[in-house]
Amino acid sequence: MWLWSKLRQIDMVLRAGVVTLRYPFEPSPVPIDFRGAPSWDHHKCIGCGGCADHCVARCILVRDVCQEIRVMLYDGSRCTYCGRCADVCPEDAIRMSDSYQLATGEKDDVTTRMELFMLTCQRCGRCYELETKNAVDRLDLRGFRYDSIETRAVIRKKTERFSLETLEETKRYERPVE
């Protein structure tokens, strides 16, 4: 009788078939509305910095390196894939792609660096004065920052009101290892 029950069990198991996903050898499709790594369209981006302002993990850094060039750096190492940058983008330049195979040995492999051309004034030929006064700062436009791209640090304070205390606050991002 036990043999019969075992045979029935084998039959039951065989009828179920294999349920295991053959994943690394066959691609696995993502569900609809899956939020993978965000991808930038640099032709659409106007460099408003709204994504950097809304980023929860503060992983989008904005840096005006000169009058015409604005560098936006996406540091994917701490991105939480919430999709708020794609939501807030007025030009739909950010799209949450469906790529999730991002495992890597280097943290820098998931970064996106984008150089944007910032248009200058048609009359005077410049956007703002870089060193003394900053028109964008003066307007108190949200989204303008002076982030340290090298150390991946967010500097919230405006350039004009920069002080050493601000710098000390900025250095908090690097926690001392005991």
């Binding site: 295991t20 060039i69 999730y100 495992a103 040995g105 944007l116």
Partner: protein, 175 residues
């Protein structure tokens, strides 16, 4: 023959110790998910063990918080010598949204040397399997840094930029 068979069967089978260093349990649920028959990582010889002394790989999930910091170090030291560390999730990779808060070390790589990072919040079970397959050499690495440029600026712009950065005091201070 027996030795070669044993080598073939038992080689490259990663025994995994799962270490939660202050994660929100999202990554932990996904790690448990890959042990289910649907994702079944035991076909690669991956097995979760209870003690770090039995393990080859430490799956480190969570930004290492200050209370767990000595414990993570202890668990890492307890593992036998050829050891790998997988950082699971955005918290282990760069600290997540808490990378600069007072109680968080800010990424697992500031505490222990991490060999493979698996980003995601939480990563899909497929993403974790992909990381394990990457470590086993079954798949190719796909992630690469992306550089986008709206247009190629003349050299003059970059030189002016360099001169400006040289003059800029803030830049020097930050670096």
């Amino acid at each position: 023959m027996w030795a070669s068979l044993c080598k073939r069967m038992f080689g490259r089978s990663l025994w995994v110790y799962h270490c939660n260093s202050g994660a929100c349990n999202g990554c932990d649920i996904e790690i448990l998910n890959i042990l289910t028959p649907y994702y079944d990582v035991e076909r690669f010889g991956i097995k979760v063990v209870a003690s770090p002394r039995h393990a080859d790989v430490m799956l480190l999930s969570g930004a290492v918080t200050r209370p767990t910091l000595p414990l993570v170090k202890k668990a890492y030291d307890a593992m036998p010598a050829p050891k790998l560390v997988f950082g699971i999730g955005s918290c282990a990779m760069g600290g997540g949204a808490w990378f600069d808060t007072y109680n968080v070390t800010g990424g697992a790589d500031k505490v222990v040397p991490v060999n493979y990072f698996i980003p995601g919040c939480p990563p899909r079970p497929e993403a974790i399997i992909y990381g394990a397959a990457l470590a086993l050499g079954l798949v190719e690495k796909q992630a690469a840094p992306i550089e986008l440029k709206q247009l190629e600026f003349p050299i003059d712009a970059y030189e002016r930029n360099a001169a400006w950065e040289k003059r800029n005091v803030i830049y020097e201070l930050v670096r």
